[in-house]
């Protein structure tokens, strides 16, 4: 099973799960169609499309196995999935820290950390550059949004700042 099949299975599982949830929805006595009417249509279409996707994936697999066992992927460029994982993790930590430390501290840490991950600083100059750019962004966005654009940024529950 390739990516298509897996994606199809996930969609199928989600659609069926949501279809099960529509069973508990209350009906109205004076409106002919209930709140489950439209969701069911959408979800049934989703089920059908997922099944087609899975089926075509399985069928194509058989066919291509009979022809030539060529992978669709070209090994031309190696993709850095580790970095993607780290970025998502750092971002998730930022989202957790934001309401605890407040915008100013959390953003400072986030920008410094992510930039450090992307380009590990070398020597004192590298570290200074890293901190200065993190500080500059934090201060600049804070001042612009809070003072000029009347957008309130999160305050920290732990720090009160």
């Amino acid at each position: 099973m390739t990516r298509d099949g897996i994606a199809g299975l996930i969609c199928l599982a989600v659609a069926i799960g949501m279809l099960v949830l529509t069973r508990g929805l209350p009906q109205s006595s004076f409106v002919p169609i209930g709140p489950d009417f439209y969701p069911r249509i959408v979800l049934i279409i989703m089920v059908v499309l997922s099944v087609i996707l899975i089926a075509s994936d399985v069928l194509r697999k058989r066919k291509s196995a009979a022809d030539t066992p060529t992978g669709a992927q070209s090994p031309a460029e190696k993709r850095n999935y580790r970095l993607v994982g780290i970025t998502f993790s750092v971002f998730a930590v930022y989202v957790v820290l934001l309401p605890l430390l407040g915008y100013r501290l959390a953003t400072l840490i986030f920008i410094a950390a992510l930039q450090g991950v992307f380009q590990p600083p070398h020597g004192a100059r590298g570290w200074i550059l890293l901190l200065v750019s993190a500080l500059a962004t934090t201060v600049l966005t804070y001042v612009v949004f809070e003072h000029y654009l009347s957008v309130l940024l999160p305050r920290g529950n732990w720090t009160g700042w």
């Binding site: 989600v14 409106v31 709140p35 439209y38 970025t87 930022y94 934001l98």
Partner: protein
């Protein structure tokens, strides 16, 4: 209409609007010129800045970004051969060879002037066509609306490259996201799993920002290598050129120019497919109609004119669809639509008549953004090349912070930021599974409207055949079936050649 337009221009010329418009155009030009930052990305970055503004200020800023961004791609495309935004790819074909031949000024100004005139010509279409189209849409009942939205979705699912099933499934996922939350008639909470926050459904903009921003940024991060970080500053060549000659080069090819502009407008009007489709098609057309197709790709001015005129004309076309029907013409207008709803403006056929000041203000901003764009380029096109050297390691963290502000500042709740992250993961996963994102976004935008109109139709008359027997509705549904069949036919014809990209399609 002309009085309204003049009043609109008079309105926007005030510093209160002119400054945001100018800044928007400037940021758009920079974002457009930066390789790896698309216009969609730029507008997402700009979005939080518009929350505190009045509606017209915010929309003027975004219009500026849109116009500037569409032109900005040409700068890097022509001067260093790297498209600043996907829609400028075709500009590199002839723009860069021209620069290599020692005519960088000619290459870039052909692009800028073509963008300007293409955009302005599309502006005439925008102003002329929106009201009549909206008037047609006013005649629509719920049946017609339902069918129109279904048609838009099926067409976009069919037009995207790659598998039709995935396009349709992607659209359905978008619809499925919108069924979470209160139902429109009895306000019964659906699929909330007991969450208080989900009762009103997934908030539109955080979902949109999450999907777009992460799909784009993570794809960039995948390709990041430690070695490419040391960007050498690029020396900009002098861009002096005789503007008369460049203008004459454009004016002396009226057919090419007008035809490219029309292609741009047409692609713009079609929902959810944007600039890159327009420029590729216009370039292709220019080559087909040219007496010397062999000159293309070697610094032919016709290639630049076709590409850039259609690119900015596409902006005008996209604005038509959103102003007349409330359907976004592409990802950028989807964000603009979201911004409108924040300011309490319901887009749709009533928009132009209910909010004439804002509607004509947008027209005026659109028209004024073009000369502003030319002015900024005249002052500092060479400076944009400096910006290109900003390393991605610095850019991406900052963009992510602005995405967070954009999601958070809507309602000042952290749940919105969590939604941003959740759909960031979803968007990236979909790109990895090679799903086109355009249908998903359209489904997301139209989902509530589809449900409301479907229910309205059935409640006013339970006969389901009305969807087929009412002439306009039936015609639209026939078109949607037709578009799916056409897509099937086209895929069959290209069997084996269908390319599925692992990069986001915007």
């Amino acid at each position: 209409m002309f009085e309204l337009l003049l009043a609109g221009i008079e309105n926007v010329v005030h510093l209160k609007y002119l400054v945001p418009l100018f800044l928007g155009t400037l940021v758009g030009l920079i974002g457009g010129a930066l390789p790896g930052v698309t216009i969609t990305m730029t507008i997402i970055i700009v979005l939080p800045f518009t929350f505190g503004m009045d509606p017209l200020q915010g929309l003027a800023t975004m219009t500026g970004v849109y116009v500037g961004g569409s032109a900005g791609g040409a700068i890097t495309a022509a001067l260093i051969g790297i498209p600043g935004s996907p829609s400028a790819i075709t500009t590199t074909f002839d723009g860069f060879p021209m620069t290599q031949k020692g005519q960088p000024g000619r290459a870039i100004w052909l692009g800028i002037w073509s963008s300007c005139f293409g955009g302005l010509l599309a502006g005439i279409f925008l102003i002329g066509a929106t009201a009549p189209l909206a008037a047609i849409a006013l005649e629509f009942g719920p049946w017609e609306y339902f069918s129109l939205f279904v048609f838009a979705l099926s067409m976009v699912a069919g037009l995207t490259e790659g598998s039709l099933v995935k396009g349709l499934l992607s659209g359905t996922i978008g619809l499925a996201i919108t069924i979470v939350g209160f139902d429109p008639i009895m306000s019964v909470p659906r699929f909330t799993l007991g969450s208080e926050f989900l009762r009103s459904g997934f908030p539109f903009l955080p979902v949109l920002i999450g999907i777009f921003a992460f799909a784009q940024l993570m794809t960039d991060i995948e390709k990041m290598n430690k070695s490419e970080q040391t960007n050498a500053p690029i020396k900009a060549p002098p861009l002096t050129v005789s503007h008369h000659k460049v203008l004459w080069e454009i004016i002396s090819r009226p057919f090419l120019f007008v035809w490219s502009t029309l292609v741009g407008i047409l692609i713009g009007v079609l929902p959810a497919i944007g600039g890159s489709a327009a420029t590729v098609m216009a370039y292709d057309q220019a080559k087909k109609f040219s007496k010397h197709p062999e000159r293309f790709g070697k610094g032919n001015p016709e290639g630049i004119i076709a590409s850039e005129a259609s690119c900015n004309a596409n902006v005008g076309g996209s604005l038509v669809t959103i102003m007349a029907f409330g359907i976004p013409g592409d990802a950028v207008t989807a964000v603009m639509l979201g911004a409108m709803t924040i300011h309490g403006i319901q887009s749709g056929p009533l928009f132009v008549s209910q909010h004439p000041t804002i509607a004509y203000g947008i027209y005026a901003a659109y028209l004024l953004a073009h000369p502003i764009m030319v002015l900024i380029c005249a002052l500092g096109a060479r400076l944009f090349l400096r910006v290109v050297t900003v390393p991605k390691s610095m850019l991406i963290p900052n963009v992510l912070v602005l995405c967070v502000i954009g999601a958070f500042a809507l309602n000042n709740i952290m749940e919105d930021v969590a939604v941003l992250l959740l759909f960031g993961v979803v968007g990236y996963a979909l790109v990895k599974a090679r799903f086109p994102l355009a249908p998903l976004i359209l489904g997301l935008i139209l989902g509530d409207q589809i449900e409301v109109n479907l229910l309205r139709a059935i409640m006013s008359d339970p006969d389901p055949w009305l969807f087929f027997t009412r002439p306009i509705s039936g015609f639209l549904l026939a078109l949607s079936v037709g578009s799916v069949i056409f897509a099937l036919w086209q895929h069959r014809r290209q069997k084996g050649r269908v390319k599925e990209s692992e990069d986001p399609d915007f």
